[in-house]
């Protein structure tokens, strides 16, 4: 390593050598704590998950590496249902939150100078934990919640069971509502930030060249926002795909999202099911990783396109 570094070869005197060595290694030293932490917590944990998914579960009956558990989990009758249900919830929550987030960001842009309280409006939901939002959604939208009581008071229903099931339902409406509350402000914040930075430069040029408001939006702003929207999409999708507590607490028992399914496997008293649980965790990781790779590729593609357009 040291021979390859131009700095270490050129240092002649002892005093400056140490300083230059430090300068050369400084970035590595600075990231070392993070790398060690990630290495211990993430890589080791992931490695142990992979090992357990291959049947290496200390304490359980057999300790031979095998793909048996992958086969069993993948062939189980409701695995595909769980997978598609997970994709469905993640996709609906993500698409809706991104769409609404972009719309809100544009509305805010068109309003020009914004008072501080408006910013608070989307900053507050971001810091509220998911658990609190779950309780809010439950108290508002369950069959005996505030909305149902209001409907009863207005005479729309005569029994709580007549109120449509919005929490614990098969369509996952309650789950999606929680994610919307959390993710629309997130999307808004990121998109609005990008919008603020680009609009000043391009807006006047576009108007000078005779563009209308609609043209400004569709021809200039949206294409420029592409990478931002895509990254927001992938972050929120990956999160929703792997998150546990929301579907666990207000999902239907009929269909389990993958993280919930992994949890139920893990909690079975029979320890061999830990392997099945880890199989699902590994699959979730692989799918999320796939999304990260797709993201970087698409991003590179877009960057190449925009650079080509400028030339």
């Amino acid at each position: 390593m040291q021979e390859k570094s131009p700095l270490s070869r050129s240092c002649g005197k002892n005093t400056s050598c140490a300083g230059r060595l430090y300068a050369a290694w400084r970035p590595y030293i600075l990231v070392a704590p993070l790398v060690i932490f990630m290495g211990l917590t993430f890589v080791l944990a992931l490695g142990s998950a992979v090992l357990q998914s291959l049947g290496f579960v200390p304490g359980a009956a057999a300790n031979v590496l095998t793909l048996r558990f992958y086969r069993e989990v993948l062939l189980e009758s409701d695995f595909l249902t769980s997978l598609s249900y997970t994709i469905y919830i993640a996709l609906v929550a993500t698409l809706l939150s991104n769409l609404l987030g972009v719309m809100v960001a544009f509305v805010m842009l068109s309003m020009g100078q914004r008072p501080k309280w408006q910013r608070l409006l989307y900053q507050v939901p971001i810091v509220i934990p998911h658990l609190v939002v779950i309780v809010l959604v439950f108290h508002f939208f369950s069959q005996t919640g505030v909305a149902s009581r209001l409907a009863y008071w207005l005479g729309c229903i005569t029994h709580p069971n007549q109120f449509p099931l919005l929490v614990f339902d098969r369509l996952g409406i309650g789950i999606v509502l929680v994610y919307l509350y959390k993710q629309v402000p997130f999307a808004t914040m990121i998109v609005a930030g990008t919008l603020e930075n680009i609009s000043a430069r391009f807006k006047e040029a576009a108007y000078n060249l005779g563009a209308g408001r609609l043209q400004l939006c569709t021809q200039i702003l949206l294409p420029l926002l592409g990478p931002t929207i895509l990254s927001v999409f992938l972050i929120t999708f990956a999160f929703t795909f792997g998150a546990f507590e929301v579907p666990f607490l207000i999902g239907t028992p009929a269909w389990n999202m993958l993280p919930v399914k992994a949890f139920f496997y893990y909690m079975r008293p029979d320890l061999t099911y830990r392997a099945s649980s880890m199989v699902i965790n590994v699959l979730i990781t692989v799918i999320s990783l796939g999304f990260a790779i797709a993201y970087s590729h698409i991003l590179a593609l877009i960057q190449r396109q925009t650079e080509g357009g400028e030339r």
């Binding site: 992979v50 709580p160 008293p269 029979d270």
Partner: protein, 406 residues
Amino acid sequence: MKKIIIFLAVVLSVVLFTACARPTATVAPNNFADALRTARGKTVTFYGWGGSTAVNSWFDNVVAPALQAEHGITLRRVPMNIDEILNKLTTEKQANKMRGDIDVIWINGENFYTAKTQGLLYGPFASRVDNFTRLIDPEAPDTNFDFGVPIEGMSVPLGRAQLVFVSDTARLPVFPASAQALLAAARANPGQFTYAAPPDFTGSAFVRNIIYEIVGFDAINNAPAEKEAIYNVIRPALDFLNELEKYLWEGGRTYPADTPTLSRMFAEGQLLWTMSYTPLYAARKIANNEFPPTSQTFLFERGNIGNTHYVAIPFNAPAKDAALVLIHQLISVAMQAEKLDVNNWGDLPVLDLARLTAEERTKLQGVDSGRGVLPVDELLRRRLPEVHARKIAIIEELWQEHVLRR
């Protein structure tokens, strides 16, 4: 890829197995008198489910002071779900940690089966507990089998639970006393009956109770613990549950995820019934004003499933002598009577009434069991045994495949 896996395997095994020294587990005294002597002044740590304030209060405000006053032992109670406790013990077993920090655990059923077969328990120890040999019937089925699993002195009964149904006489004057009557009641009141989806503990017991009603206990008890065989036996019961499903809440498209949710729905007037594995549950809920005062407990005519819950000692308990004394204390007449009191916990006693002195019997029978509940002798008379622990998970799986996700 293979290299990476091998590398990780090596790293993991180094971390897990070589880093720790190998101390030996503490030993317990051979007789109860010695345990009493050496345990004095120690702290005994109890790990168990902590989700009920009534149960917690019995441990903290009844057992702990008595244990301190009579035997000079301090009780430390740590609330933790049994599956997490077993996870912890499994990890400690893997790491060869021979001095843990749990002295007594609260356990039964599938979890006892797992703990016993995985070698997570210390024992046999029951014969070294004075009150066990003096007050408990050695011939009683639940002294020898926990959910069909032979106990062999590895745990001691602490209390008895039973599945009960609770309804409101003001809204449902005639209680359904059989599966067929339940179907009729659900048909007459569509959307106002349901049960918690297994693997919820109580919902799972309800499904087994329906199986007993439709195909009988012997049929399921004699079936081998294999999925195919059990499916063939319980098929008529699953068909019945599918027939019932049409008239359940939300048409059975979804089920409440747990029994607290079921009870909340009953309390808020959505449902005509709820159920509990705690037989005096209704009394407590009426006393809290959560359930209407007209609520009443009932059973099926042919009986409801009951089980017994136990205490056991982990293999690496640091104070096994104090653990023996705590268990002795838990099954004393005084503690069992306080436990039966609905103002404390309302859990059925495990003592053999025939072995008690007249004075002790009076003490146990004079306990306040509250409103809306059934007398203890009726509960014990209409009590059906549990099936083998291994069959429960299979039944739950079959229910999910053939009823929930049909």
